[in-house]
Symmetry: C2
Subunit: 250 residues, 2 copies
């Protein structure tokens, strides 16, 4: 197996409405699952308000640290849409009406409807590539390793499809989920810790959920190497079987 | 009106399963709405993996910056539950089995079922106050301004109810939502920006959503002072009415 370097990402969600709880974010889970599926590991997410200093500081911190930084939100026509300006500031480039973006908006709107506010959506940092928006047309953009997308989920999802082909990807994280078969975490925790110690290349997590039927526990093993993963999977299954047998004989 | 100082908070979501997209977070929106409702302004959210250095760095950054830091996740009995140890490290205090927490677990489990792994859930940083968990008993805790809660939503919600009464709260953010009545953002953006400039104490956002019926736009005004809010609300309603009239006469 040729070793792939890890390709990593952070996600920056921009918007007061998420922090006030008024809008429930639907983008974090979608983007995390999507990027994991194409071989980009999401390592951090931040949600910040519509305040320039906060957005710029987060962009600067995250773009240095990960292969890619994705942002959602703040690229519409209203005064609170300041993401493009913040990205330009963080990247140290100018921002102006981009002729390619203006052309897209001219096709979408009649001349009398192409207000100054709508033209704001054509403000793109210098040197950025556009990301097509098949729904409402106003484009997202990618500049260096920063990918700027809309906050409306349907539009963000279309933009992500559009940009994904341009990104480097690493080996895909493989995962296996094992149901504990009714065994509680407190009973299998020691055996699981021992399997984790014996398989340092495999990330092993235990995830309880609580439903009307009580707790259900899933053990998730994650690794980019399928043979290491299979080895650890067998160790977990064997350990659970031993614990089930011990329980039955009590 | 007596001015209240702002009471602020950050939320730190701890868990690989959120970053991989396997588990869709349900806590951010709940906590944001809850805290906003009691007069605590959520200013930042971060999601980090189950890695000690990442968790400790995020705790240190966030606990200094906001009145409170809430964490979710990583306080169960398995080897990947490292939040309590990370909090102790970040706060510079020791951590050990807490007699109060051990007593709670002794009541919950028969002696032969109180495994070493389950006792891990009684490891509490020195000086912390416990937060009751009516569902599965293993407590959360509060140390200085850091509030540590479970990741399972039902348990987190019960813990939040339990701890809320111990927190300082500020004036509650009041908000008004105005439907744009079918007017698109690009048409009202300029008028809205002008209202925002005239009402600097009121935070005004415009939030499009995209449904099968097309775009719907909500304008949200937020302010802790109800009279400032009412003034800005009237200005937005008047501006929208003018635009509707202009549209009708075209």
């Amino acid at each position: 197996m040729t070793p792939h370097p890890d390709v990593t990402a952070a996600l920056l969600v921009i918007g007061d409405e998420i922090l006030s709880g008024r809008t429930k974010d639907k983008n974090i889970g979608y983007i995390a699952e999507y990027l994991t599926g194409v071989g980009i590991d999401v390592r951090e997410v931040r949600v910040v308000p519509d305040i320039e200093a906060e957005i710029v500081a987060a962009i600067l911190a995250l773009k240095e640290r990960y292969t890619y930084l994705f942002t959602t939100g703040g690229i519409g026509p209203t005064h609170d849409d300041i993401t493009a300006d913040c990205v330009a500031k963080a990247m140290g480039v100018s921002i102006d009406h981009d002729p390619r973006a203006v052309a897209i908006l001219r096709e979408r709107y009649r001349p009398e409807d192409l207000t100054e506010a709508r033209l704001r959506m054509a403000r793109i940092p210098a040197g950025a590539e556009l990301i097509e928006n098949p729904i409402s047309k106003a484009p997202g953009f990618m500049i260096a390793n920063v990918i700027v997308m809309a906050g409306v989920p349907a539009i963000m999802q279309a933009m992500l499809d559009n940009v994904a082909g341009r990104l480097k990807t690493g080996a895909r994280m493989q995962s296996v989920t094992i149901d504990s078969g009714g065994l509680p975490e407190g009973i299998y925790a020691e055996a699981l810790a021992s399997v984790a110690r014996d398989h340092p290349g495999v990330v092993i997590g235990s995830y309880p959920s609580f439903t009307h039927k009580g707790f259900e526990n899933k053990i998730v093993l994650r690794c980019k190497d399928t043979s290491l993963l299979a080895h650890a999977e067998k160790a977990v299954i064997d350990a659970l079987a031993q614990l089930q047998a011990a329980k039955a004989s009590r």
